[in-house]
């Protein structure tokens, strides 16, 4: 604890010299600064969580109702009526295991995308590393994710699906999922500041993206020779892996590798772009 304090004091303390100038390097991501502002990050996340279900009758129950309802409707429409195959797994669990990571991704991307514009009053009045805004809006979605995960375990009990040893990979997968959500979310948040068009693009981009991702259908439905195309979609690997660790299907390492590469590249690119345009934010927001 003591050493942490000294880091923080060093950073904000008297010896800290700030130079404000027009030109900055391309890769000027001040990780030390981000670390020094971690308390603000936690405060922003807890604000979003606290505010999320305030003045609602059902409160936190919404975190249960939303994914369960989607699961039920998808099971009816795609599982029962359209008879989409599900690799021999009961369709409700099959689709829910995919909706779990997809839910985190889509909420994270849409809330991060609008987060900068939504925080215009902060951006134009006080300084802190701006990238905290989209990052913390992703953080708030994690609570819903945890609740959804608990429901998945219940579903597995109901459908008597045995727990796989691969479940220990969950934290790692979650990390890849978060990195991917951050990459896309941060980029969109920066783009929305300059080009408000993205506010209209994001919801429908997410919708199209979902149908391009094996959420409601199994990857095996795609003909073998076109499957590589689906691998280029980073969410394919993540969703397939989630199914694999929960439902015990085979882990598709190639798809997952693609996701890791994409997530890393996207996150890097987003941060560079964000840093580059960050300086203009207060002027154009």
């Amino acid at each position: 604890m003591q050493s942490e304090d000294t880091i923080q004091q060093d950073y904000f303390g008297h010896d800290h010299v700030t130079v404000i100038g027009p030109e900055r390097g391309l890769l000027d991501l001040d990780l030390r600064e981000l670390w020094a502002y971690r308390e603000l990050f936690l405060v922003l996340v807890s604000r979003d969580i606290k505010v999320r279900y305030k003045q609602t009758v059902l409160g936190i129950a919404w975190a249960v109702i939303q994914p369960v309802t989607t699961m039920v409707i998808f099971s009816m429409v795609f599982g029962k009526f359209a008879r989409i195959p599900s690799d021999g797994i009961p369709y409700p669990v099959f689709v829910y295991a995919a909706l779990l990571p997809w839910g985190l991704f889509s909420t994270a991307v849409s809330s991060a995308g609008n987060s900068m514009v939504g925080s215009a009053h902060l951006v134009s009045k006080v300084y802190f590393p701006r990238v905290l805004i989209p990052i913390s809006s992703v953080g708030a979605g994690l609570v819903d994710f945890l609740i959804s995960t608990a429901i998945l375990f219940l579903l597995m009990l109901v459908f008597s699906i045995s727990f796989s040893i691969k479940l220990f990979l969950l934290p790692l997968l979650l990390l890849i999922l978060i990195a991917n959500s951050l990459g896309v979310g941060i980029l969109l948040s920066a783009l929305t500041v300059s080009y408000r068009d993205f506010r209209y693009v994001i919801p429908f981009m997410i919708q199209i993206w979902m149908y391009l991702t094996p959420v409601i259908y199994p990857l095996s439905l795609i003909p073998e020779k076109w499957r590589w195309l689906s691998y280029l979609n980073p969410m394919t690997g993540i969703i397939e892996s989630f199914r694999s660790i929960f439902l015990g299907t085979d882990l598709n390492f190639i798809a997952l590798l693609f996701s890791v590469i994409f997530a890393a590249a996207m996150l890097g690119l987003s941060l560079v772009y964000f840093k580059r345009v960050e300086r203009r934010f207060a002027d154009v927001i």
């Binding site: 923080q8 904000f12 303390g13 008297h14 010896d15 800290h16 010299v17 700030t18 130079v19 404000i20 100038g21 027009p22 308390e39 603000l40 405060v43 922003l44 604000r47 606290k50 505010v51 305030k54 003045q55 009053h121 902060l122 951006v123 134009s124 009045k125 006080v126 300084y127 802190f128 300059s194 080009y195 300086r279 203009r280 207060a282 002027d283 154009v284």
Partner: protein
């Protein structure tokens, strides 16, 4: 003590803004069609920052100064002089186009109070939220929590969502958090124009406490007596350039002498339309014969006639007149809403209001009259117009002894009745 160190160095600082010009009107259907097709390309160019020279505007040009530890610097200038831009650069909200600023030590900037307050959260939660946004650590807030609540005088409502607060409570809490910051360098914009007079006084008192603790303070205000009281050094900005930098009294004097658009009691706005939300076209200061003048007899009434245009609704703004003496003491301020009749009228496109100041009240001498307009923005007031006009009151008709005590010299009504 050793020589004071420069904690803030501003070096050739410049800031350029891009003005959004209005789109040209399309006259024919064909042009409109073409316009619709080409508009996205034009807009893309504008949004991505490619513009021609005519749309550029220099808010700050080649500003140089140094601030040493413990100095309390007042930054003054008219609206649009670049004060806010300078503060925004110093607080790292926006970056300069050219030049640099070097800051030693931690900075807290208060461009408004209550930044980031969330209406759904309680007072307690907002103290932690706002404190963190202003750069306080959890431990620091923990230790100051009681003091913050006490200063804001909201003990009973700590666990009530702030949306249920009265505007007074809200502002008091917001300021109280800010007042408990302990940065080495404090940057304060005109945040004092909030709350009631009594609370404003407490805010000023708190600010002067901070100033006497050896902290470095940069303070922007239109309130010259506050600047005079708090600051030992002044910086006058004019049209984005640094005009004077020096002893605060000298700088205020230069600033007050400054309005060339004003002569013989008539002020005409040099800008035909400056895009302000309240655009004052002309101000006349009239004597009893309805002649514009800046020289009045002691026993003459003064009428201030303001002609303005606005698109705001009545509840959104007020027009005001204030008077200060040559030493910078504020004598009064008055608003057009003081009169019930003026509170409910709907402003037309062009309006004229008059403020009537009684005779036989002010000591002979030089005065600065401020005509201003405030817009309500949430709980804060934003100055959308402000001009200072110098008038003089001579001793014609005044009582002989002009050296009476007090700032005013009213001729009052005395009566007598026999003691039984």
């Amino acid at each position: 003590m050793s020589k004071p160190t420069a904690v803030l160095t501003v070096n050739h600082l410049s800031k350029r803004y891009i003005l959004g010009g209005p789109d040209q009107l399309n006259t024919s259907f064909r042009e409109m069609l073409m316009g619709t097709i080409t508009a996205p390309f034009k807009r893309y160019k504008a949004l991505s920052g490619q513009v021609d020279e005519s749309q550029l505007f220099w808010a700050l040009e080649d500003i140089n100064f140094q601030v040493h530890q413990g100095e309390v610097v007042g930054i003054i200038g008219k609206n649009g002089a670049g004060k806010s831009t300078l503060l925004k650069i110093l607080s790292r909200i926006t970056t300069p186009t050219g030049g640099s600023v070097t800051i030693k030590g931690n900075v807290a900037s208060l461009l408004e109070v209550g930044t980031g307050f969330h209406p759904e959260l309680t007072g307690r939660e907002n103290i932690y939220l706002n404190g963190a946004i202003l750069g306080m650590h959890r431990k620091e807030i923990n230790s100051k929590f009681e003091n913050i609540v006490e200063f804001a005088n909201i003990e009973k409502f700590v666990d009530t969502p702030v949306k249920r607060y009265s505007s007074g409570m809200y502002v008091r809490l917001a300021f109280s958090i800010a007042a408990h910051l302990e940065p080495e360098i404090l940057i304060v914009d005109e945040v004092l124009a909030v709350g009631d007079i009594e609370f404003q006084k407490r805010c000023l008192g708190k600010l002067s406490d901070i100033a006497t603790q050896g902290r470095t303070v940069l303070f922007v205000s239109h309130n010259m007596s506050a600047i005079n009281r708090l600051c030992n050094r002044g910086i006058l900005l004019e049209k984005g350039r640094l005009r004077v930098d020096g002893n605060v009294n000298d700088v205020i004097r230069v600033y007050l002498q400054d309005d060339q658009a004003f002569s013989n009691g008539l002020w005409i706005n040099p800008d035909v339309d400056d895009g302000a939300e309240v655009h004052v076209e002309r101000i006349e200061i009239l004597n009893e014969e309805s002649q514009a003048t800046n020289l009045f007899n002691f026993n003459e009434k003064i009428e201030v006639k303001i002609k303005y245009r606005t698109s705001l609704s009545r509840s959104e703004f007020v027009m005001g007149v204030a008077l200060a003496d040559a030493q910078g003491n504020d004598l009064f301020s008055s608003f057009d809403t003081d009169d019930d009749k003026l509170r409910d009228y709907t402003p037309a496109l062009i309006n004229t209001v008059s403020c009537n100041i009684p005779a036989r009240l002010f000591k002979p001498g030089a005065y600065t009259m401020t005509v201003f307009s405030h817009k309500h923005e949430g709980f804060a007031l934003k100055t959308v117009f402000l001009v200072r006009l110098n008038i003089e009151i001579n001793n014609v008709g005044a009582v002989a002894a002009s050296s009476r005590l007090g700032l005013l010299q009213p001729i009052l009504n005395w009566t007598t009745s026999k003691i039984p």
